[in-house]
């Protein structure tokens, strides 16, 4: 397995758990905000998926590129959008070339190589997933999954 494939597998262990936790969220909580000015639960979820897409698009494109988040009305919509982003990001990651990872790219005034942005992307997703788990607990979800997909027990 090369380094990029290892990255994809490692990231998917986190994204799979994001999907699992979204299955525990009901429509009535999709606009839950734990403090004034926070992302709502659905906004935070889509920020995670859209940001990963942004980082990968930007690395692939060689310059900053972000797509608008599709419209949504229900948690089913949110789950579907995340699922679509996951498939798209998986495909985009697989097409990255070594050169894409070496190119220096600016995001928000910070310049770093594609591989640095890729590490930052995963770290960003995990950090916000930590916040999302906190939201879930606050709305009363009792049994949360482990923070990443675990191997099968024997």
């Amino acid at each position: 397995m090369n380094r990029l494939e290892e990255y994809i597998q490692s990231w998917l262990k986190h994204r799979t758990v994001l999907n699992e936790i979204l299955c525990l969220i009901k429509d009535e909580h999709m606009y839950f905000k734990p403090w004034e000015g926070a992302f709502s639960l659905s906004e935070l979820t889509l920020h995670i998926a859209n940001s990963m897409d942004m980082f990968v698009q930007t690395i692939k494109n060689g310059s900053f590129k972000i797509s608008p988040v599709p419209n949504y009305e229900t948690m089913d919509d949110v789950r579907r959008i995340v699922s679509d982003y996951t498939e798209k990001t998986k495909g985009d990651l697989a097409t990255l070339r070594n050169q894409d990872l070496e190119n220096m790219i600016g995001i928000n005034g910070f310049y770093a190589s594609g591989k640095v942005w890729l590490e930052n992307a995963k770290d960003h997703e995990i950090h916000h997933k930590g916040q999302l788990f906190t939201y879930a607990r606050m709305i009363g979800v009792e049994k949360l999954p482990f923070f990443l997909k675990q191997p099968e027990k024997r």
Binding site: W117, D123, G130
Partner: protein, 178 residues
């Protein structure tokens, strides 16, 4: 990937983990102890419990990297858990500094070279990994729980600490340029 790049990455990722935890500790120091210990509805009973968990798991993985057996790690953690229970925030910060030093001593003992780690878990079976992969896991675990702590702080009306990997890299670059 070239071996020397993996070796550099090993210490850099761990250094990031320590830097990010330090940023969180610095923020937590500004907050009254009773807030850190306040029970709230969240993923941990309190912010202090969340911070203790990051420390506890760091201790576990260092011992796994040193190839201690599951039973040895379990016995060690039973003792460690008793100590953690009564730690104040100040105690935890000291304990964290100590475990970070233990990690650095361990990396030094390896000559800062990556190496294989084989461990056996009674439920998950045998894991063949490397020190660098486990260090990445320790860092990701910390990132996830620092995310918990950020949200818990906000829940209690306090700002979180910014711990993005990219900020770490820029801060280190600035330090090295001095």
């Amino acid at each position: 990937m070239r071996r020397d790049i993996v070796d550099q990455q090993l210490t850099k990722i761990y250094d990031y983990h320590v830097w990010a935890n330090q940023r969180v500790f610095t923020r937590l120091k500004e907050i009254p102890d009773e807030v850190l210990e306040k029970n709230i509805q969240s993923v941990f009973p309190s912010i202090l419990d969340a911070a203790k968990h990051i420390y506890r798991v760091d201790v576990v993985w260092l011992n796994v990297m040193m190839e201690k057996s599951f039973d040895e790690v379990t016995a060690l953690m039973a003792v460690e858990s008793e100590k953690i229970k009564t730690m104040t925030f100040a105690d935890l910060e000291n304990a964290y500094k100590n475990i970070a030093n233990e990690y650095k001593k361990f990396f030094s003992s390896l000559g800062y070279k990556d190496q294989p780690v084989v461990t056996e878990h009674p439920q998950f079976g045998k894991l063949e990994s490397t020190v660098s992969e486990l260090v990445q896991h320790v860092s990701n675990h910390g990132t996830y729980h620092r995310g918990n702590i950020t949200a818990m702080l906000r829940q209690l009306g306090y700002p979180g600490a910014s711990t993005d990997y990219i900020f770490y890299l820029f801060e280190k670059q600035t330090e090295e340029a001095r």
